[in-house]
Symmetry: C2
Subunit: 126 residues, 2 copies
DNA sequence: TCATTAGTTCGGAATAAATGAACTATTGAA
DNA sequence: TTCAATAGTTCATTTATTCCGAACTAATGA
């Protein structure tokens, strides 16, 4: 199997980071990984934000985080260990990750139930 | 014409903000609006990041910024004036917007030419 | 070797974004 | 008032992304 791609920190873009963390599942996963000092495997997140997530979808979410430069994934035996790359990103974009994680926590506290983005209110005419 | 929708600051989500600013055109527009103290109309941005943007697309970008709670748009005569809602968001998510704008500026300085995702195989000159 | 576990990749359906064309609102001039 | 110009929005169609079940790969242990 080809090795997983990890961008150099110099190739990491703000856009990619924001896009990766603009998904409620991914920001929850990343926030968890970044907040723990030990590495986390994927299967720990088969249930995030109170709903089951298919493992193929989970895998894509991890890929998005990885290719945005937010995490580093390394196979360790039969499972994958994921650690955050906060320290590197902090050097390139000081305060960015911390501010996002902090804002995410504030939101969790203010709205314990609804963490989703505002959906379209209008019904499609077709 | 139905009035433009602006979410209450309490309904603003981190996800929506990050999603809105994960697009290179939108973050450029927002950064410009947030950095200037006078309001800006849409047409000022028909050329952003060295490429022409169709006005229908621009309109959608402004809508995205507006519905994420990042800007407030008000018609003034024949044109639309846009101001940032940084102050409100700062109260809800302290430091978030500032960190993103700062990171965006850092990226502009480090890569004055390529602001897009790293698709092409270009030698990284570090 | 085979079974199990953990994750990736593939392919098609569902969803979202980009944009030319048509439309709406406001202003100013005739 | 009527017409033209300007500034944006909305619609409809094309294009790109995302989701997720099924099939696949890699490591481990019996």
């Amino acid at each position: 199997m080809r090795p997983l791609f990890h961008p150099s920190v110099d190739d990491v873009t703000v856009e990619a980071i924001l896009h990766a963390l603009s998904d409620p599942v991914r920001v929850a996963i990343f926030s968890d990984i970044a907040g723990s000092n030990c590495s986390q495997n994927c299967s720990n997140f088969l249930n995030v934000s109170d709903k089951a997530i298919p493992k193929s979808t989970l895998s894509q979410h991890f890929k998005a985080l990885r290719e945005a430069g937010l995490i580093r994934s390394e196979r360790q035996g039969v499972e994958m260990q994921n650690v955050s790359r906060c320290a590197e990103i902090q050097e390139r974009f000081p305060g960015l990750i911390a501010a996002i994680v902090r804002a995410h926590n504030i939101q969790l506290q203010s709205k314990p139930r609804a963490a989703k983005a505002p959906k379209r209110k209008r019904k499609a005419s077709k």
